[in-house]
Amino acid sequence: MAFLEFNSISKGYPGVQALSNVSFGVEKGAVHGLMGENGAGKSTLIRVLSGDQSADEGSILIDGVEQKYSSVRDAFHAGVIVIHQELQLVPELTVAENLWLGRFPGKAGVINGKTLIETVRARLDEIGIDVDPSAKVSSLSIGARQMVEIAKAVMLDARVIALDEPTSSLSSRESEILFTLIGKLKTKGTVILYVSHRLDEIFRLCDSLTVLRDGRLAAHHPKVAETTREQIIAEMVGREISNIWGWRERPLGEPRLEVKVLSGSKLRTPISFSVRKGEILGFFGLIGAGRSEMARLLYGADHRHQGSVTIDGVVVSPNNPKAAISAGMVLCPEDRKFDGIIQGRSIEENIAISSRRHFSPFGVLSPKKEASVAEQFIAKLRVRTPSRKQDIINLSGGNQQKVILGRWLSEQGVKVLVIDEPTRGIDVGAKSEIYEILYELAAGGMAIVVISSELPEVMGISDRIMVMCQGRVAANVARADFDERSILTAALPDKNAAGTV
C-alpha cells in the first residue's frame, strides 16, 4: 500500500463538481506530479489534503491510517503541510513571524523575539534562502515572498508536503534552490505532491504523476520516465498540441510605441526603447530586474520621475492609466490577486470593466452586448466556469488569469498591448491559444510588449528580446541571435557588477 492514499475523493461547489471520485497513491519518498487544465481540480484536491476544505466523499490515508482531520491545525499535527497557489503571508508581520505563525514557540504564550529570529536565520542559511528574517513581509519582492512561503514548508519536518504551483513566480535561479530542497526532502522520505503547468519541471522532478481532467482522474503514471510530453498533454487537454509556440514571420511597420528616458523611484536608470507596428518585444530578466516597474511607469500606474511615452507620434498625457488607455495602450498586470481581479464581481463584469465604455452610450450599459463580449472570451480562452455570472473569486487561479487577459484582449482600438507574465499559472492548452491571439493582434498592426520570466516562452514568441538586469537594459537581442546561454548570462547581476556590458 502506498504511503499517501486518496480514496474516491469527491468535492462539489454550487454549479461545479470540482472533484469526482479521485483515487491514487504516492509512495514514500516520492515526488508526485499533479497536472491538469485550469480548473481541473488540482488545488481543490490539495485543499482537501490540507484540511482547509472537507471532501464530500472519500478518505485520505497516510501510512495506512485514515485521516479524520477537520481543520488545518489537525492536518498540521498529522504532518501535512501545504503551500497554496496564492501566497498566504501576513504582510504586516516579519518573515520570522510568518514562518512561525500558527505554532509560535515560547513559554506561556510569551514569544522570545530574539530566539525566534535567530532560529529562523539559522534555518534559512542552512537551506540557502537569502532573506532577512526580521524584515516585514510587506517590504519583500514577490519572488522573495514566494521563497518565504516555501521555507515555511521546508522548515518543519512534515511527512507530506504539497506545493501548488510554487515556481509560477520564481525565477530560474530561485527555482533551482527549490529543486535542491525538494531533493533533500526526498532523501528524508517525505512525500511531495507537486502541482505545476511546466512539463520541464515535472519531468525533471517527479517520480510519478497523476493527471486530472474535469475533476476526474484522467491518468496515473507510476513512472514519469515511461511517458512522453505529448501523451501527458493529450491526457490533459484531450487533443494534441504539436508546436506550442507557433511563431511565424510577420511584416513589421513603423515604430508605434516610443519610450524615452523613462525613470521612476523604483527604476532609477532611465530606459528608452521603441516597438514597431506588428512587433512582439519580449522583456526577460530575473525576478526583481525591474521589468514590471518599467511596465507600470510606461502605463502611468506609478509616478514617473522623467521620460515620455509616445504612441504613433502622439505623446501620452497625463501620466495615468486612464489616459494611457484612451491613447490606445493597455497593461495586463502580473499580480492578478492585487492588481487584476475585482473580488465580489462576476466574470462578465471583470471582463467588461474597461471595454464597456465603447458600447455604453451616455454611460448607460447595454447588458446584451456586455454578455456577448464576456461569452466570447470565456469561450476563446476556455475559462472553466458554470456561468459568466460567477463571482471571479470562485474561479481557479489559472481561470482568473484568463479572465484578466480577456479584459484586455476585449479592449477595442488598442495600439499597444503590454502583458506582464501573461501565462503565469495557465495550462499548456490555453497557452498556445493565447499565443495565437497575440500573433493575430500583432498581425493586425498592434505593438506588443511581453514580460516573462520563462525563458522558453520569451524566446518562443518574441521577435526581439530586451534583457533587463538590476533596473537596466543589459542586452537587446534580435530573433536571429536568440541564444539561451547568452540571454541568461546577460540577465545575471554578477556580470553587470563586473561592468562587462
Binding site: S326, I341, I342, Q343, G344, R345, R356, P367
Partner: protein
Amino acid sequence: MNALKKILLGEQGLVVIFAIAFVIVSLTVPSFLTERNMLGLLQSVVTIGIVACTMMFCLASRDFDLSVGSTVAFSGMIAVMVSNSIGSIPLGLLAALICGSIVGVVNGVVIARFRINALITTLATMQIVRGLALIASDGRAVGINDPAFYQLALSRFLTVPTPIWIMILLFIVFGFVLNRTVFGKNTLAIGGNPEASRLAGVNVVNMRIWIFALQGLVCAIAGILLASRITSGQPNAATGLELSVISACVLGGVSLAGGRAAMTGVIVGVLIMGIAENVMNLLNIQAFYQYVVRGLILLIAVLLDNMRSSAAGRGSRA
C-alpha cells in the same frame, strides 16, 4: 418545496423574507395595514431612505460617511435661513443644495486626494458641520417665515405626500445608476479592488469625490424636506442618522468591505428599520424594551439573511 427553496435562497431572498414578515405583521398588529399608517410609516423613513441611496454607493466603494446627519441638519438650516433672509424659497433651496454638495466635495477631496481615512475624516466633518449649524443658528431652531415652504412636505400627489414621491424617485434613479450605468459598475469595482480598478482605467480619485459630492447633495435634499416637515431648521436634527442609515444599508446586504450592493436590499433594509419602530409604537411597547427589541430585530434580520446566503453557498471563499 424545491421551488420555495430556490426563491428563498435566490438573489431576492431577503425581499421574500421581508414580504413574509410583512404579511405576518399585517395580520397580527391592529391598524398596521391601513392607508394612513402606511403613509405615516413611509414618511417616517424618508430621511433614512433618501440618504441611504448614496450611502449605498459610499459603502459599495469601501468608503464610509459619518457626516450625513450633520449635513442634513446643516443644509436644512441653510435652506430656512437663506429663504427667510432673501425672501425667496427657490434661492434658499439652491443654497442648501450647494452647501450640502460642498460638504460632500470637501469630504471627498480630503479622503480621496489626500488619502485620509474616511472614518476619521467624516467624524471630523461631522463635528465641524454640526458646529457650523449651531453657530449659524446660535443653537436654536429657526422658524420658517413663508408658509409656502411647508407645502413641500404637505402637498400631495395621488393622496401620497410629496416627500414619499421624492424618496421613491431617488430609489429608482439610484437603483438605475447602480445597476445600469458605468458609474454604478465602477463604484462596485472600486469597492471590490481599488487598485485593479485604477489599472483598468477607472479614475478612482474622481469617482470617490463624485460619490461624496452626491452624498452631500442628497443629504441636502433630505435636509430640505425635513425642515419643511418640521417647519423649522433645527441645528440638532438628525443626530445619530449616520448609524441608522449605515445599518439599513448593511441590513440590505451592502458589504462594508465594498463591492456588494443592491437597491432592493437597501429599500428593504430601510423599511425593516421603519416597520420595527412603527410596530413597536403601535403595540405600545415600553421605551426601554424598545431598545432591546430593536437590537434583536437587527440581529435576527442579519442572522436570517446569513443562514440564507450560506445555505446558498455564496461567499464561502471570501
